[in-house]
């Protein structure tokens, strides 16, 4: 009968509503309980996506040691990280590229750059039947991405790869389509090694690429390269290692062809110490040194030197201190290059300089 059917349906709906209401109530009380646990400090961070796996690992490890401190990190991109720290909507920001002078000037307070780890960008390609890794000189890389070297059997590519049977085929270039720190590092490198690149394209997270098609994210570039013969693209070192992509050796400024590896990246940072300024905002692409891999960069956490809330500031300072010391040991497993010892020292000085109401927070 229709009535009984209706009644049954109504009862069913009521039951579902009750269950949902209970769930919501349970969720609320759970959330409230965690927040009100005896003077717990909550920190909010946001920014770069590249170091996100490492930062999440840090948060969970640090959370085990300090149950009183709860830190959240949202990987919304470096641009968002810079924007939010400037607007003071987060306690710390994160960015792959250091902030520009302009950005620093327009911020309401002095922002410090604390380097956490290093990353690298590698060239990957799809050439069938070629086993040994390709070798590239800087000018060749620039001219491929400028569209001036159009074919794989170009004499200049052959010059560096004498024993490789390069195909007589057009080169298809793949680049990132999304704004990305990876693109920023790569174009920073190309701007240093090629005047023409510097003049025509420049460096940035979303450059106007002279040639090629865009893939979204590391996975998009990798997908495009894997699926299309005779392509070349660039991805993060960590991504290339985890997915066992073929990677090229790149000639560094000392004239050595260097295979991208975590040690070669840390070496690039160590070799750049002389040129690293006091505020640690530095580009380490095209670094000198025999073993330095030339396409690498720091990634930074951004924090105000003067913290408004002493309790929060203290928690942040302790977390940063732990990160650049104990946290570094998680870096290699996740394919990030740890900081060289000298940079750790200089980052320590930065962390020590963070104050609240004129009092240093670290020595408390």
């Amino acid at each position: 009968m229709p009535e009984s059917l209706l009644a049954r349906r109504t009862r069913f709906l009521t039951a579902i509503t009750l269950v949902l209401a209970l769930l919501v109530l349970y969720g609320c009380s759970g959330g409230g309980g965690a927040g009100s646990g005896g003077g717990a400090v909550r920190l909010q961070g946001a920014g770069a996506t590249f170091p996100n796996p490492l930062y999440q690992k840090w948060l969970s490890e640090y959370g085990k040691l300090n149950s009183q401190i709860r830190i959240d990190y949202q990987s919304i991109g470096s641009g968002g990280g810079i924007k939010q720290i400037k607007e003071q909507t987060v306690d710390f920001g994160a960015s792959d590229a250091p902030m520009s002078d302009e950005d620093l000037k327009s911020a309401p307070g002095q922002i410090l750059h604390i380097p956490t780890v290093l990353g690298a960008v590698v060239l990957t390609y799809n050439l069938q039947g070629i086993q040994q890794p390709l070798r590239f000189s800087p000018d060749v890389v620039a001219d491929i991405f400028l569209g001036k070297i159009k074919r794989w059997d170009d004499a200049r590519i052959k010059a560096d790869n004498a024993n490789v049977a390069l195909p007589a085929a057009d080169i298809s270039v793949v680049h990132r389509s999304d704004g990305s720190g990876t693109s920023a590092v790569f174009t920073d490198y190309l701007s240093k090694v090629s005047q023409e690149w510097s003049a025509q394209v420049g460096k940035g997270t979303s450059p106007k690429w002279p040639v090629g098609i865009g893939g979204k994210g590391n996975e998009g570039v990798t997908g495009q390269v894997k699926q299309t013969p005779n392509t070349i693209g660039y991805v993060e070192l960590a991504y290339a290692v985890q997915n066992k992509l073929p990677v090229a050796l790149v000639k560094n400024s000392s004239g050595n062809f260097v295979e991208p590896s975590l040690d070669a990246v840390t070496a690039a940072a160590a070799e750049s110490l002389a040129t690293t300024p006091e505020d640690l905002r530095v580009s380490i692409t095209n670094a000198g040194g025999a073993n330095a891999y030339p396409i690498a960069s720091y990634t930074y956490i951004l924090a105000y030197q003067d913290q408004k809330d002493a309790a929060k500031g203290k928690a942040l300072v302790d977390f940063l201190w732990w990160g650049i010391h104990d946290g570094e040991r998680f870096a290699k497993d996740l394919q990030y290059a740890p900081l060289p010892a000298e940079i750790v020292k200089r980052a320590e000085a930065k962390i020590n300089s963070i104050t609240s109401g004129g009092k240093p927070l670290r020595s408390q």
Partner: protein
């Protein structure tokens, strides 16, 4: 059908007269004067108003956030072909072109396909086939677009490169549309993946529309000696405005689609005669560049391009509605059945 004017005074027509004197009253006070009806009406009115407010506030927010870019570039933003965040030079034309053309390709493929599916399911297939097929088609509509995107890179793009684009280039190569390097990535593949994504939506709605056409119409046609095909044409004519609505719904999704398209369209802001060349859409460039955009002018330009997407959607929908109106005007009596 349009109700004939009633001579006898009724509560409804009195109410109508009152509504004409003060139109806003008809929105707030019910015809019957019952309290419950009034409250119900007020709630509905509020909900409807909320939609308007939402749209208005979105437009206002986008307009105010894009002021910087609007002042800097003015009208040339619409016609500019350069998009260079490093040099702070922005033009939206390649993105508008990519959005409109990829959506058109999608419609050209999806509309005949969806109509075919819907007609088959409603008019031809026995229930034991049509139910599971209809279920599958509707399930396709629920697949997240990023999944379509990854499938696009790994399956569709190579398939287009090997089997679809080379024959097209051989047969229609004399047209500029089908010239150029074949990579499987580009405007054409972007259009095809959009077509695949909007087909389930259009066919599901058209199926419901066709099913709503009274059986008496079919019986009448058959009784007059019409063939199956002729009967279907009668049903289609009855459902014309509903079908048009379904197509507009699909078009709306195609224009706004982001993830799947960006995976296969090549993301290159250029206007090329060839459909095989990479292109870019408005929704994709916003999704791609917004998170890492620093610099006020850059952000402002991205917001302005969002505003343009809003306008493009509005114009396309308006044109579609006009088209529907001009097509169904002659058959207004029957078109309302849907």
């Amino acid at each position: 059908m349009i109700a004939p004017q009633l001579e006898r005074p009724s509560p409804a027509s009195e109410y109508g007269a009152r509504a004409r004197r003060a139109p806003w009253r008809s929105l707030l006070f019910s015809a019957t004067g019952s309290k419950g009806d009034t409250i119900f009406r007020a709630i509905l009115f509020g909900v409807a108003l909320l939609v308007l407010l939402l749209v208005a506030s979105m437009v206002a927010a986008m307009a105010s956030n894009s002021m910087l870019s609007i002042r800097e570039f003015g009208f040339s933003f619409l016609l500019g072909r350069n998009w260079n965040p490093i040099k702070d030079d922005f033009g939206a034309l390649p993105f508008i072109y990519g959005t409109v053309v990829s959506s058109l390709i999608a419609l050209l493929i999806a509309v005949p396909l969806s109509l075919g599916i819907a007609i088959f399911l409603v008019e031809q297939a026995p229930a034991r086939i049509s139910r599971p097929v209809a279920f599958l088609v509707e399930m396709l509509a629920a697949i997240p677009s990023v999944v379509y995107g990854l499938w696009g890179i790994f399956v569709l793009a190579p398939f287009m490169r090997e089997y679809i684009e080379p024959p097209l280039a051989r047969v229609f190569g004399w047209l500029p549309l089908f010239q150029g390097t074949i990579t499987g990535i580009g405007l054409f593949t972007g259009g095809v993946i959009l077509a695949i994504m909007i087909t389930p939506i259009i066919s599901a709605v058209v199926r419901d529309v066709l099913a709503a056409v009274p059986v008496s119409q079919r019986e009448a046609a058959l009784a007059l000696g019409a063939t199956r095909w002729e009967t279907t044409r009668v049903v289609l004519a009855n459902a014309a405005s509903g079908i048009a609505g379904a197509i507009i719904l699909g078009l709306g999704r195609a224009i706004g689609e982001t993830m799947a398209v960006t995976m296969v369209i090549g993301n290159r802001p250029q206007i090329s005669a060839s459909l095989f060349e990479p292109s870019y859409t408005i929704a994709s460039v916003i999704a791609n560049e917004f998170t890492e955009a620093t610099g006020d002018l850059y952000l402002s330009a991205l917001v302005e391009i969002g505003l343009i997407l809003f306008l493009v959607t509005f114009i396309v929908n308006a044109v579609a509605k006009l088209l529907v109106w001009s097509v169904t005007r002659g058959t207004s009596g029957t078109a309302r059945a849907a």
